[in-house]
């Protein structure tokens, strides 16, 4: 794999900075629904930051804001020094976003799909062809690259999805539950690829609700519940703070501490 694109950030600066990020959805019947409340964290270059939380905890909304798919209600985030609110187009050039729920175009072949996303990223035909040649080796796509996506297995599709994410060589990768729906072997393969990307210097945000995955690949972990980050640190510091045990124990003890009253007070802070 070729060296990744030069970044805007000064050496040593965090590549991802999230500051008091909030998101409130508005429902005609229920009124404002706070989904993310004052989330702040940073991630240094070449590190994997894990966002750990239950379904509906606010992981996807947070990551969608970082990927500029959703606009923050307040607060901000900077990717490679660029503000997601002020310059979302530039942010998108610097990220690769993959969600476990997202699908691919069944009627395209793997090569056509990668070419399409290369074009959308503004790459030249020659650089697209060059990158496809590179990634088909590292992601072991050669056997099915010219097969239609609809005919591929779930594992093949996920490998192709990962390949799509890194095709334009972004310095930051955002993975939202990328192993969702995969069997054990598929999930292991995805984790192997993520670790490989980390070893090649990519900065990665990885959300999951599977503790073992977070334990395996994350340098830092934030536990998110009801839209708020309740605990943050590396695995060892989290264990120390919560009296040892596995990450699952840490997670359960952290989440169980939040009472509905506390959640309500947290919500009041962002209600208009």
């Amino acid at each position: 794999m070729r060296p990744r694109s030069p970044t805007q950030s000064a050496p040593g600066d965090p590549l991802i900075e999230v500051l008091n990020l909030c998101k409130t959805f508005h429902d005609r019947k229920k009124g404002p629904i706070p989904a993310v409340l004052n989330v702040s964290f940073t991630c240094s270059p070449g590190r994997v930051f894990g966002l750990l939380g239950r379904n509906g905890a606010g992981k996807t909304t947070t990551l969608r804001m970082l990927a500029t798919i959703l606009y923050p209600t307040s607060g901000t985030a900077r990717i490679d020094g660029i503000d997601v609110n002020q310059n979302p187009g530039e942010v998108r050039k610097r990220i690769g976003y993959l969600s476990g729920d997202t699908k691919l175009y069944d009627r395209l072949t793997g090569r056509e799909l990668l070419t399409y996303f290369g074009e959308l990223a503004g790459m030249s035909p020659a650089s697209i062809a060059g990158r496809i040649a590179e990634v088909q080796v590292s992601f072991q796509l050669a056997d099915f690259l010219d097969k239609r996506v609809g005919k591929m297995s779930t594992g093949m599709k996920q490998r192709l999805s990962l390949c799509r994410v890194v095709l334009h060589d972004p310095p930051v990768l955002i993975f939202d539950e990328p192993t969702s729906g995969l069997d054990v072997m598929g999930a292991r393969e995805v984790l192997r690829i993520v670790q490989d990307l980390k070893s090649k210097g990519r900065t990665i945000i990885f959300s999951t609700h599977i503790m073992t995955e977070a334990e395996k690949i994350c340098d830092e972990i934030a536990i998110i519940e009801r839209g708020s980050i309740l605990a943050k640190g590396n695995l060892d510091s989290l264990r120390r703070e919560h009296g040892g045990g596995s990450l699952e124990d840490v997670f359960v003890s952290t989440v169980e501490k939040v009472t509905p009253e506390e959640a309500g007070r947290a919500g009041e802070r962002v209600r208009p």
Binding site: F25, Y71, E90, Y97, S99, K103, D106, L120
Partner: protein
């Protein structure tokens, strides 16, 4: 009916009433769309009646002096100018008239003798003015028949009811080519609207709502391509398919009505000769463009708004139906339409195509059609782009 069947019925009704599509299909469409379209058709029809009433036609009359009752009868007709002619002209165009009423020489003597004579009204059904002249002269033809019958009865001293049939006939002298041109002008614009709308429907919804349904939307939104480029790209694809559908439609009509009919002698004798010169076909294709752009933009906007393919297709069907109704407006258009009718999308293109096919293009009509369609399509494009950037629309469930 058992209680359980009633429970199923209640559940289905509750389910359906919580589905926006049912509300639209059962309440909004029957209450607003259909009556609105009927109102529109009624307006077109009443405008047509007004225009028909105001239409001035010119009728050449050969041998007018031979029937004393004819001159006052013709003068009594509103909107008809008579032109005395010595003989039946080789064509209506040569005489500069819309129809010719021919009274054979010596009819006043021939009728009492019992000779076979024929009074004829020559007109062209394929020409709306000529056809209007024929319609206006119908009562005059009845008067002529009555006058000739009375003349025979008086000369024979016999009762009127014993009079032989006296031929007072109308003859459509439209050539096969003229009939074909008339038919082409009548049907092609309507069919093209129909084909372009049908052709663009599926791809527009698939390219927009399909992204949501297939869960490919997020991937697309996270790319560095501006939303306006994403929408424009989708619109261009829809326009390309819509234009292809229009082109294939024109080729299909030509192939069936000329080539295929020509290969089957039994059919060729009966079929009209669909006439469309190459330059007309080219202009027609160019005029398909505004309709294709407008429909594509409208359907893409709808697709961006809809939550699911089914919802998108439901909304698109209403656009399709409205397009077909607008196309029908051109079907009923007889004379030269007023310029404001060229400000109505789809109808304007159909009317312009009709003018192209009848070689009666008014440059102002073409300019208004293109201008209006471009403005409306631009508005639709901006709407679609805004919808495609609106997270509450994109991610609503």
């Amino acid at each position: 009916m058992s209680g359980r069947a009633w429970a199923v019925c209640r559940k289905e009704l509750r389910d359906a009433m919580r589905d926006g599509r049912t509300i639209i299909a059962v309440f909004v469409v029957p209450f607003i769309l259909y009556p609105g379209l009927m109102l529109f058709m009624g307006w077109i029809e009443s405008q047509n009646k007004k225009e028909e009433g105001a239409l001035q036609v010119s009728v050449g009359v050969v041998g007018e002096a031979q029937l004393p009752g004819l001159t006052p009868a013709l003068k009594a007709l509103e909107g008809v100018t008579t032109v005395p002619l010595d003989r039946v002209p080789p064509s209506l165009e040569a005489a500069g008239v819309d129809a010719v009423l021919s009274i054979p020489p010596g009819i006043a003597q021939a009728i009492p003798r019992g000779d076979s004579v024929k009074v004829e009204l020559l007109y062209k059904d394929a020409d709306h003015k000529s056809s209007a002249a024929e319609e206006r002269l119908r009562p005059v033809l009845d008067d002529v028949q009555r006058e000739l019958t009375v003349l025979w009865a008086r000369s024979q001293g016999a009762p009127v009811k014993q009079a032989p049939a006296i031929a007072v006939e109308k003859r459509d002298i439209s050539s096969k080519a003229e009939e074909g041109r008339f038919l082409a002008a009548l049907i092609i614009p309507y069919i093209l609207v129909f084909m372009v709308a049908a052709g663009s429907m599926h791809i527009a919804i698939d390219a927009t709502t399909g992204e949501k349904e297939r869960s490919t939307l997020e991937t697309l939104l996270a790319t560095s391509t501006p939303r306006s480029d994403l929408v424009l790209g989708k619109m261009l694809a829809v326009i390309a398919v819509a234009l292809t559908a229009g082109l294939v439609g024109i080729l299909g009509l030509w192939f069936n009505l000329t080539v295929l009919a020509g290969m089957m002698p039994a059919l060729s004798g009966q079929s009209v000769q669909l006439t469309m010169r190459p330059e007309q076909a080219l202009f027609i294709l160019l005029t398909v463009l505004p309709t294709a752009i407008f429909l594509s933009a409208a359907l893409v906007a709808i697709g961006c708004f809809a939550r699911s393919m089914r919802e998108g297709q439901t909304y698109a069907t209403y656009v399709y139906m409205a397009s077909v109704f607008l196309g029908l407006g051109s079907f009923r258009q007889l004379g030269t339409p007023p310029v404001e009718r060229f400000m109505i999308p789809i109808l304007n293109t159909a009317l312009l195509q009709r003018e192209i096919l009848t070689d009666t293009v008014v440059p102002m009509h073409a300019a208004v059609t293109l201008g209006t369609s471009a403005v409306v399509a631009a508005i639709m494009f901006v709407m679609a782009t805004r919808l495609f950037s609106n997270e509450s629309v994109l991610f609503r469930t």
